[in-house]
């Protein structure tokens, strides 16, 4: 804002200071910003929909899951808010550029088997270990 409005700026500044020190409560976010907690999301892949039933014998499709959602450090007996702030500060001092952020990723994976024809009409049964997400968590 151009000069002349110094008073306003001061007022702005003081209110800003108030704002930053106040930790927003979950209710403060409007719904679009509020992200869900980290969890497993479902996505069903149908080989029929992909037009592949002429070479994939089984399965008809499979439940391909993925992990998504907000990860906040789990505050618990060992990691209360104070320790959490200390960890964040220490890590920030060591690596100022990157802010340590837990990520929502798989914690358990399942195998999936697929039965299909190859170009010479031989039949292949292949087991893909660790291919389908079973559960998610914050790492």
């Amino acid at each position: 804002a151009v000069g002349g409005k110094k008073k306003n700026q001061n007022r702005n500044k003081s209110t800003n200071k108030q704002e930053s020190s106040r930790i927003p409560k979950p209710g403060d976010y409007n719904t679009s910003e509020q992200k869900q907690a980290c969890k497993k999301h479902e996505l069903y892949v149908s080989f029929r929909d992909l037009g592949w039933q002429d070479w994939i014998i089984a399965p008809e499709g499979y439940a391909a899951f993925y992990c998504d959602g907000e990860c906040s450090f789990p505050l618990n007996a060992q990691m209360n808010a104070t320790n959490h702030a200390i960890v964040q500060t220490l890590v920030h001092l060591m690596f100022p550029d990157n802010v340590p952020k837990p990520c929502c990723a798989p914690t358990k994976l399942n195998a999936i088997s697929v039965l299909y024809f190859d170009d010479s009409s031989n039949v292949i049964l292949k087991k893909y270990r660790n291919m389908v997400v079973r559960s998610c968590g914050c790492h």
Binding site: Y44, L50, W52, I57, D119, N122, V123, L125, K126
Partner: protein, 246 residues
């Protein structure tokens, strides 16, 4: 669709989405492109039927998370004498199972030996690199005979040196799949494809007389699709297929 969970988002894919997902899944399956098998009505052949049994057996084990010993998949409903119950877990240990259709079949008869045999050839060069054969079987169907109460002696050899691989003594009245263990030869062929001269199947009566294969009830390439001979091989991948995170 009752197995599709209610929370699944179910909608028709747009073309570019479909191509994108196809590319993604082919990379997950480790395939350079989508296969285009040629033979019509292939699903009703003996090998796919057998492999579908294995798939169902594997799917049950994955569900149970158990390690039940693998038993030969339920055959085409025949006497136990012709089935081979595998008490090992090579189905569990296998990362991949592959079946091969018979490429050539010649009936041969040598006059000086009066020896009948049928020749079968399988192309194992399609096996992806890095896979080691942990077990391999040659499966051929035998019709049952009611009249003769005698035994046949089946032997399977590797051509060129007529190196005996496996043999079976079977009652003529028994019908079903004969299973011969050809693990050693399959590994040899994978390492030296140029030495793959195929298999020879011969049949003798118990008094050592060589007889024509067909007259012993053996079904060859010209038999019904669901009874044609094939080879099935079990593999253990050397490196685990690691999927990059997307």
């Amino acid at each position: 669709d009752n197995h599709v969970h209610s929370s699944f988002i179910y909608r028709r894919l747009r073309n570019h989405e479909r191509r994108e997902i196809q590319r993604e899944i082919l990379s997950i399956l480790g395939l350079p492109h989508r296969p285009r098998p040629f033979s019509p009505g292939k699903q009703a052949s003996s090998a796919p039927l057998f492999m579908l049994d294995l798939y169902n057996a594997m799917a049950v084990e994955e569900e149970e998370e158990g390690v039940a010993p693998y038993r030969a998949a339920p055959l085409l409903g025949h006497s136990p004498a012709l089935t081979t119950a595998h008490d090992t877990n090579f189905l569990n240990d296998a990362d991949m199972v592959m079946s091969f259709v018979n490429l050539v079949e010649k009936d041969k008869e040598f006059s000086h030996q009066r020896r009948h045999y049928k020749e079968f050839r399988f192309d194992l060069t399609q096996i992806p690199d890095g896979e080691a054969v942990t077990a391999a079987e040659f499966r051929i169907y035998k019709d049952r005979f009611l009249l003769r109460a005698c035994f046949f002696f089946f032997c399977i050899c590797r051509d060129a040196e007529t190196f005996l691989l496996d043999s079976k003594k079977v009652q003529a009245s028994n019908g079903g799949w004969l299973v011969f263990d050809i693990t050693a030869t399959s590994n040899h062929w994978v390492m030296n494809p140029q030495q793959n001269f195929g298999l020879q199947l011969c049949v003798e009566t118990m008094d050592g007389r060589s007889i024509n294969i067909k007259s012993a009830g053996i079904i060859g390439r010209n038999g019904p699709q669901s009874k044609q001979p094939f080879v099935v091989a079990f593999f253990k991948a050397s490196g685990v297929l690691l999927r990059s995170v997307r």
